[in-house]
Subunit: 196 residues, 2 copies
Amino acid sequence: MNDGAKNERVRLSAEDWEDGALALIAEQGVGAVAVEALARRLGVTKGSFYWHFRTREALLQAALERWEEYGEREVLAEIERIPDPRKRLPELFRRVAHEMQPHRVYAALLKALDHPQVIPVMSRVSQRRIDFLTRMYTEAGLEPVVALHRARLTYAAYVGFLQLNFTLGLPRISHDEFDAYVEHMIATLTPAKSND
Amino acid sequence: MNDGAKNERVRLSAEDWEDGALALIAEQGVGAVAVEALARRLGVTKGSFYWHFRTREALLQAALERWEEYGEREVLAEIERIPDPRKRLPELFRRVAHEMQPHRVYAALLKALDHPQVIPVMSRVSQRRIDFLTRMYTEAGLEPVVALHRARLTYAAYVGFLQLNFTLGLPRISHDEFDAYVEHMIATLTPAKSND
DNA sequence: ACCGTTACATACTCGGCCGTATGGTTGTCG
DNA sequence: CGACAACCATACGGCCGAGTATGTAACGGT
């Protein structure tokens, strides 16, 4: 079917531009998504771009929606397959902690919350994730109200961690120390095994 | 002495421009700090600006350093005067939770971490605050390593909260619910009173 | 009263980036 | 093999914001 070779002189599709935009966002932030720059990056010129998209805004919109679509999904589904509800959250934390790539886009979008286009996207994504955490905490035995607060706290810690660590480069934490930090998080934020 | 009337046609000083820049940052973000816009806001023109500063970058630099200088200071000092170490952190949390103004600049700067000038400033400020938290946790009875992790977690939660709540406007949390959230944070992150 | 310094106005240049216009090339299908 | 559509290049117009050049008004000291 559609062979997806992305190198050499093949004609581009709208999706190629969207992927390119997302790559640029991950590397240099939303502000770096300029038409001519992206065109050079893809080995073509503006003329091509304005055939696929009416405006730069349209590209950003499409790219963001594409990212929102293709986000999480697998991870959360796998977590829900774990039978013991109390083992889900620790597993989720460890899983999330050891993938770096998906976070780069999210972190870049956090830095770009002045651009009005990204706000609704980030709102929806964050809200869904907090809802998911709330469910997990509830099923792990917390009262509904407590679960909601704990979910917010957890997700805030996640967001803040992203900012502090690879946006700011706070003293390059070592790999072992990072693992210890994750375990500390689990111990602090996760309901203890013996509890009700 | 120096009458500080900021209205009407008085001559401006460099500090006035810096304060104006900080106000603009708090309201519309770092990107909104444009020379001509700021000049209009102050009732003058560019001509004035380029007398006080060599470049726009210089203004930003000065404004950021001014903010870094005039930051926290009183709050942290007051906290340290509380005799019982275990009562300090809860008090700090409640204090911080009920001031909104100082956070606006910090939140705006979080959204502006693509601008290379703000990164070192934010790094220093964040690092100092984490160090402070680490000391507080240690004095409250935590092991040094645990205290460091807990401090990072706490500060990450703070940063994340800012992003999620008045950068994104996640479902406008009510005042009462917010207080409950803060108490939940204290209960979760603060060493229990009976413990060692 | 004068004069230099401080503070500001006005009018320009210049570069970056968006968007448009138009013409050329590469496919593919009857 | 011609024709129509998909895809791209080149060239241009225009806005916006930074920075420069230069002239001018207020002030403070002597």
